[in-house]
Amino acid sequence: MENWSLFSLCVLLGLTSRWAVSFHSYSGAGKPPMFGDYEAQRHWQEVTYNLPVHEWYFNTTNNDLNYWGLDYPPLTAYHSLVCAYVAKLLNPEWVELHASRGYESHSHKLFMRATVLFTDILIYIPAVLLYCFYFCDGSSKQKVATALCILLYPGLILIDYGHFQYNSVSLGLALWGILGLGLGWDLFGSLAFTLALNYKQMELYHSLPFFCYLLGKCIKQGLTRRGFFQLAKISLTVLVTFALCWMPFLSDPKQPLQVLHRLFPFGRGLFEDKVANTWCSLNVLIKIKTLLSRETQLFLSFALTLLFILPSSLKLLSKPNLWQFKLALVNSSLAFFLFSFQVHEKSILLAAFYCTHLGFCLFLRLMFFLFVFFHSMLPLLVKDGLLLPYVVTSLAFLFLSLYLLSALERSTEEELRLGLYRKLTQRWLPKLNLSRIIKWKFWFSLVAMAVLSFTSVWLEPPAKFPDLFPVLVSILSFLHFLGFIIYFNLVQLMEPQRKKSQKKTN
């Protein structure tokens, strides 16, 4: 069967599962007064449509920032504006100022879901297809298998089409950025990534790898001649894009400051809820939230984040090739997730996406996916009433990845990654069969996490520790994430050049 037909079948399957998940409930459905992310998006359409630009990020009589105030960069606001125009055509009640608060109806839900599908088809899916086509190793069947697994990635499907968000836009744009860089179109790549950054500020997690890669490339081309021009062109592209996106806000110096204030709410504290990062886990032993002052917390998180990204970024700067770039993406997002300020559990989605799909050892990848999933997603999705699609999509994804991709991994990947550990452990434990250990660890983690999630959902915790199960899951996940970041950093720093990656060096 021809390639185009196989790829189109993958896309159709991906779209079908997306739309089928959208039948289910969304965040905050039927839960006044605050509802959830769905209502937030609807509210932003209302605000951007009815109010002038300079009021969008400010607390005015018409715009109550406590009720889902805009806290994403301007591109999200423009996107909401466009959706609002369409909404107005279909049913003006959906975006009536004030009167449409908490509006819920079947047709409105269809409209909102359709907007997600539309942007997905426009931005994310073509990026995935091109990525698999150009940057996956192996035969065309392997590429199709990879494409299918990426398109059926539950994280994105459940958050975007269940909980309700527009992650596919920012993730898609970032993927276009990676594509651009991989194909040697630096300007296009920087443009795409800047747009992604202007859509969701969480893409800052990946900005350092992009920066280091491009800077490293320019340095390699010689900072005096071609490299300098390239650097200038890239900087110009980035600045112009920023200027265009922020243009309406540049008239008054107060505006950008207020927007930044909304984007980075340092006033909200080190963490909220149960996140599998360092601060939350540390808080179990020592109550840092109350012990240290706000400034010290900020400084500590900044310092540790920097500490963990610096080695990987410097390595990328010195060796700017695609393989290093991918590893740096994973390391950077993991570092930010573990040590940054005010991190949400959904942020792990970013690190998880790249880790699960960017071609490392399959069982490691899937293990990572497991921890992300069971820890972060489960409580969130159960709260939204999405248990059924969660179970079905996760099982389908796990099964499909194992079935389609496990044999593909046998020969190429494993030996290379694990060669590193072999070097380390050969001295002390020469008889270790590392790949088998990893496989066993994967199955063991799967069972353990399944049991823990089951207990956290269905069993009553003891009265003395009401949060026992979520905290246990959170701490376990944290320990694993810590292990992952150390591992990926080691892989990146001690990496011998892969034969195939030579082709991709630009």
Partner: protein, 503 residues
């Protein structure tokens, strides 16, 4: 290439496909379900609460039991599991009861019952004459498995609209597979069981009858009759059951016209009456008031052409399948000839039957899949029949929410069947000639007009039935064409009995 490598054992792909489609079905649990959902809930309730003698008399709900007794027993068995999900669904008075637990249980029961279908498909794959392919995606058994397991019509009708066709077609396909494997007693037994599960399979009973009589002499025909009578001895009042099973009070056509001959007949009648009134040949006052396009299932008259009675449709149906039966009698072509005759009987009854549901097209499409992976001509007919037949099921899901799903799934099935059959029969040029390809492509503008453009026009209020009529007439052309081609292929195929006697 790679596809040879990950297959640790030869049949793991079957399991992967079955699991994959089951996952998809689970995702569709929350989709729209039709009144058939309430129908089955009502049957669960009444089989659970009442003694067997009263099942066919119960009339609290408008959805009286109109399937044969064995299906009633099946519902009775299910009701015992239903108790653990939600006891309230088993109360007959709880009309239109649809709690989340009820929906979950009923949907899961369909998904689990499909295991019968999976087993039957596996058995059918074993019956294929040759199963060699360069790689997995080109193997006839793989293609057949996808065409059956991922059949668009079955997924849409069973898992969205809500019915139990998968399980029933499993029994049918298993019976066919047994005949291919020369295990004729089991095949006959399975068919008798099937008839007692859903009487719509009477459509294809003639094929079974003639085939078994012809090939296995009269002494063995007793075996066919006796399981039937054994199952029927279930202390049930026969006339009452029959009156529930065959409600001839319903009209010639269903509320939505199945794409058969009568749809074309109706439209011709309407056209003649309009023309007649225009050219003053008919008096508009003498024409019957009730409109065919009103959408109700009453009995009514045609204006210009002679009215059609149930007897007339029966005669037409019998006449349409008689040549095929004669052919099988005189020159049986082994199990494949029987299968071809079966498809023709199903299609003939669909074309000329009384009050035919559009879902009945599946009875022709599914068995035809078996023939399609083995012969080029059958693949052509299958493509035309399946694409038009599946498209004609669109009006079953009329909600906006399901619109993307049905389009995506139809595209999925169509692209797969087109490309895989084209690859299978690569030698010998294109599979579809330009006329056929144009006809199939014409479905795209038809869909755009009916579901996107028409609802925005002013005629939506005055003639709401028009898109449905257009759909059924357009599809009727394709189905008729497939019927004729199928007949031609049956009547002109060479006698290869000797070669395929042993499987």
């Amino acid at each position: 290439t790679v596809m040879a490598a990950p297959v640790t054992n030869d049949q793991s792909w079957f399991f992967a496909l079955a699991l994959g489609v089951s996952f998809l079905k689970c995702l569709l649990i929350n989709a729209y379900h039709s009144t058939d959902f309430e129908v089955h809930r009502n049957w669960l309730a009444l089989t659970h609460s009442l003694p067997a003698a009263q099942w066919y008399y119960e009339a609290t709900s408008e959805w009286t039991l109109d399937y044969p007794p064995l299906f009633a027993w099946f519902e009775y068995g299910l009701s015992h599991i239903a108790r653990f999900f939600d006891k309230e669904m088993l109360v007959v008075q709880n009309l239109n009861y649809a709690s989340p637990a009820t929906i979950l249980f009923q949907r899961l029961s369909v998904i689990v019952a499909d295991v019968v279908f999976f087993y039957a498909v596996k058995e059918c794959c074993k019956c294929l004459r040759e199963d060699k392919g360069k790689y997995l995606l080109g193997k006839p058994s793989f293609i057949l498995t996808v065409l059956l397991l991922w059949n668009f019509g079955l997924i849409i009708v069973d898992h969205i609209h809500f019915q139990y066709n998968g399980f029933l077609f499993g029994v049918l396909l298993l019976s066919i597979a047994r005949h291919f494997q020369n295990r004729h007693f089991e095949g006959a037994l399975l068919f008798s069981i099937l008839l007692n599960l859903k009487h719509i399979y009477l459509y294809i009973a003639p094929a079974y009858g003639i085939y078994l009589l012809r090939c296995f002499c009269f002494t063995q025909s007793n075996i066919y009759a006796s399981p039937e009578s054994r199952i029927n001895k279930l202390s049930i009042d026969l006339p009452q059951v029959l009156s529930r099973l065959f409600p001839f009070k319903r009209g010639l056509c269903h509320a939505y016209w199945a794409p058969n001959i009568w749809a074309l007949y109706n439209i011709a009648d309407k056209a003649f009456s309009i023309l007649g009134v225009k050219f003053k040949l008919l008096d508009i006052n003498k024409l019957p008031k009730a409109s065919m396009t009103g959408g109700l299932v009453q009995e009514f008259q045609h204006s210009v052409l002679p009215s059609v009675s149930p007897l007339a449709t029966l005669v037409c149906t019998v006449l349409s399948i008689l040549p095929a039966l004669f052919r099988i009698w005189h020159r049986p072509n082994g199990a494949r000839g029987f299968l071809r005759c079966l498809v023709i009987c199903a299609l003939g009854s669909f074309m000329f039957g009384w009050h035919v549901h559009e879902k009945a097209i599946l009875m022709a499409i599914l068995p035809l899949s078996l023939l399609a992976v083995e012969s080029r001509e059958d693949a052509r007919i299958f493509l035309i029949l399946s694409i038009t037949g599946h498209y004609s099921l669109f009006p079953l899901l009329f909600t906006t929410q399901e619109l993307p799903i049905k389009i995506l799934l139809l595209l999925l099935f169509t692209i797969f069947s087109l490309t895989s059959l084209k690859t299978l029969f690569r030698s010998g040029g294109a599979l579809l000639n330009p006329l056929e390809a144009t006809y199939l492509l014409g479905l795209i503008p038809l869909e755009l007009i009916c579901e996107f453009v028409y609802p925005l026009t002013v005629w939506q209020k005055t003639f709401p039935f028009l898109p449905l009529m257009l759909t059924s007439i357009y599809c009727a052309l394709g189905v008729t064409y497939a019927f004729i081609r199928l007949y031609i292929s049956l009547l002109t195929c060479s006698d290869s009995t000797k070669k395929i006697k042993t499987q």
